[in-house]
């Protein structure tokens, strides 16, 4: 109604900014709130934890969640809330680090392929297509087979698994950008390839890559946790959500809380990123709204 009045009085209403639109998008807000909470938990972990993550207490095994032990204790009496809190650090770190690796190498390969074209492009694109023939987690699993188990290797494997999508995105953006007049101008005044690539092209194609990396964190957390669940990632002592859940499976019939809370953590972390992505999608690409 207000807008109608604006029109009547001869004023043109200001179009809402992206920020305004996001603040009115329920999914975005919900995702952002969950993510901020998880990040806070991760940052404040030492203050929030009530016990040492590995202090076992044989007299206090399988305690049902209560006022003192919010999430109960596990089979050797470790406090699950404390492990949950520190576990958030690992999961978020795995997701973030894997995306940094994927973005770094994927973008470099994509930029080189897109800029130089011809044979280099054909070879690199062929390599991407080959890597993409290993669907889902299969690529990360293959890398794990080569590297062997361990949390660092999980980060590397998930990162490598995401290289193809970054490379594709970077390549297609470079192909569009390199035909621009200002690139031609840079070439005319004698800029080197290196300078054109990193000074002129990279800043212009960075935005979609950063969006891809941010939204990919959810998938990376999922893959990392899955690898740990399969026993290839974190060792049992490490409070990692995937391996905590996996270890709790044996006690599912009498102590559901041992595996349900870590699972809930992974789910919420991925959900928050996906909700944010959905909200951004609605706002930036309103056709499907």
């Amino acid at each position: 109604m207000n807008k109608m009045n604006d029109f009547r009085h001869g004023q043109i209403p200001k179009p809402p900014s992206i920020f305004d639109l996001l603040m009115h998008n329920f999914n975005f807000i919900l995702g952002a709130v969950i993510l901020i909470l998880l990040v806070l938990i991760a940052l404040l972990a030492p203050m929030l934890a009530t016990q040492d993550v590995n202090s076992a207490d044989p007299t206090a095994t399988f305690i049902v969640p209560n006022v003192n032990q919010w999430m109960g204790t596990d089979n050797i009496g470790r406090d699950i809330w404390s492990r949950f809190v520190f576990g958030s650090r690992i999961s978020l770190l795995v997701g973030l680090a894997a995306m940094v690796i994927g973005m770094l190498f994927g973008s470099i390969l994509g930029i080189i392929a897109g800029f130089y074209g011809s044979l280099i492009d054909s070879v690199l694109s062929w390599m991407t297509e080959v890597l993409m023939a290993f669907p889902g987690m299969l690529l990360a699993l293959s890398v794990m087979a080569v590297l062997g188990p361990g949390l660092t290797n999980v980060i590397i494997a998930v990162g490598i698994g995401s290289i193809p999508s970054f490379m594709r995105m970077a390549r297609s953006s470079v192909l569009k950008t390199r035909e621009m007049d200002y690139i031609e101008a840079a070439r005319t005044i004698g800029c080197t390839d290196f300078r054109i690539l990193f000074r002129h092209i990279l800043p212009n194609i960075l935005r979609p890559l950063i969006v891809l990396a941010t939204l990919g964190i959810g998938g990376a957390i999922l893959e990392g946790a899955s690898l740990s669940y399969l026993g290839l990632g974190a060792q049992p002592m490490t409070p990692e959500w995937g391996s905590m859940l996996s270890a709790g499976r044996a006690f599912l019939t009498n102590a559901w809380w041992v595996s349900v809370f870590p699972g809930l953590g992974i789910f919420l972390a991925i959900l928050s990123i996906n909700l944010i992505g959905d909200g951004l999608g609605d706002v930036l690409d309103p056709i499907n709204k």
């Binding site: 297509e129 946790a225 996996s246 499907n288």
Partner: protein
């Protein structure tokens, strides 16, 4: 059409060659001597190591080794498992039916739910239904299969005692929980794709022409809009088959079910390289084949594709 066919087949062939190089190199990329990778933690004398190297042809130049590997693959020899000494091909043949069964049931579930929910949300878009279901589908994409499977076991096996938690391969009841666990992510993803492809068709002018001619609204929706939005959906469903198969890696482990996925995971845990190479290559080859067939069908159905 023939030119497109030839070009597409050539691309697939080059990807298949790449897949074979990748799986072949896996063993050589392991840090250290490949013989050690093959033997694992077994202690052997240096003489025995040298003997094994000769036996396995590891002293030949890498390209020669690769061509021998390809020759063996074409003769149906994918090597032998280091743990059980069984032929890799036999193990795959034995485990595949179980994974195939699970994948097909999961595909039926995911396409039924995906198309149903996607259509509802598209036709009622921006309503409360649409908003609630959008959160449901995002949750479906976000929930890790191993967590969803665990919740299903907790409710249907532990609390209600309706369905078995451990799936025997020939028990149809044991198939229900694994199939739903496998399907949930793909079903949610498909629902979102169906929604957006229908909404995209909504904007096109042909349906206004149809309405202007006096065609009934239901005919416009079901005959024109749905039919046109089906093209990307059918492609997605055919590719889902392979994604579901790859997903069996985790789901078969949750329910202790036989299959290719579990075979691959145990092989990786045991660092049983011939078995890892065999199972990984097997899934990748199926992926490339299905991808190619889908593209070719697509080109027959939609002539615009051929002209690109």
């Amino acid at each position: 059409m023939w030119r497109y066919l030839g070009r597409r087949l050539l691309t697939s062939l080059s990807v298949l060659i790449g897949v074979s190089i990748f799986t072949f190199l896996m063993l050589h990329l392991v840090p250290g001597d490949p013989v050690h990778a093959l033997l694992g933690r077994q202690a052997v004398t240096p003489e025995r190591l040298e003997e094994l190297r000769q036996e396995l042809g590891l002293n030949d130049p890498i390209p020669v080794q690769y061509f021998n590997y390809i020759k063996d693959v074409f003769q149906g020899d994918l090597g032998r498992s280091l743990k059980t000494n069984r032929s890799v091909l036999d193990s795959i043949k034995e485990q595949f039916p179980s994974t195939f069964q699970l994948t097909i049931v999961a595909l039926l579930i995911s396409s039924t739910f995906g198309i149903f929910i996607g259509t509802i949300t598209a036709f009622s878009h921006n309503s409360w239904w649409d908003k609630i279901l959008s959160i449901v589908t995002i949750s479906g994409i976000s929930i890790p299969p191993f967590f969803f499977g665990l919740l299903l076991i907790l409710f249907f096996s532990v609390k209600l005692n309706w369905l078995p938690a451990v799936a025997k391969s020939n028990d149809p009841q044991g198939l229900i929980l694994p199939a739903f666990t496998l399907a949930i992510g793909e079903a949610s993803w498909l629902a979102r794709l169906v929604r957006s492809s229908i909404l995209e068709e909504f904007d096109k002018s042909y349906q206004w022409t149809a309405r202007a001619k006096g065609v009934r609204e239901s005919t416009v929706l079901f005959y024109h809009v749905l039919r046109n939005s089906l093209i990307p959906i059918v492609t997605a469903i055919s590719l889902q088959f392979v994604y579901l198969m790859a997903g069996s890696v985790v789901v078969e482990s949750i329910f202790a079910r036989q299959g290719i996925g579990r075979l691959a995971v145990t092989a990786i845990q045991n660092r049983d390289f011939p078995l890892v190479q065999g199972t990984v290559a097997f899934i990748a080859v199926i992926y490339v084949l299905i991808n190619t067939i889908t593209d070719l069908i697509y080109a027959v159905v939609d002539p615009r594709v051929r002209l690109k």
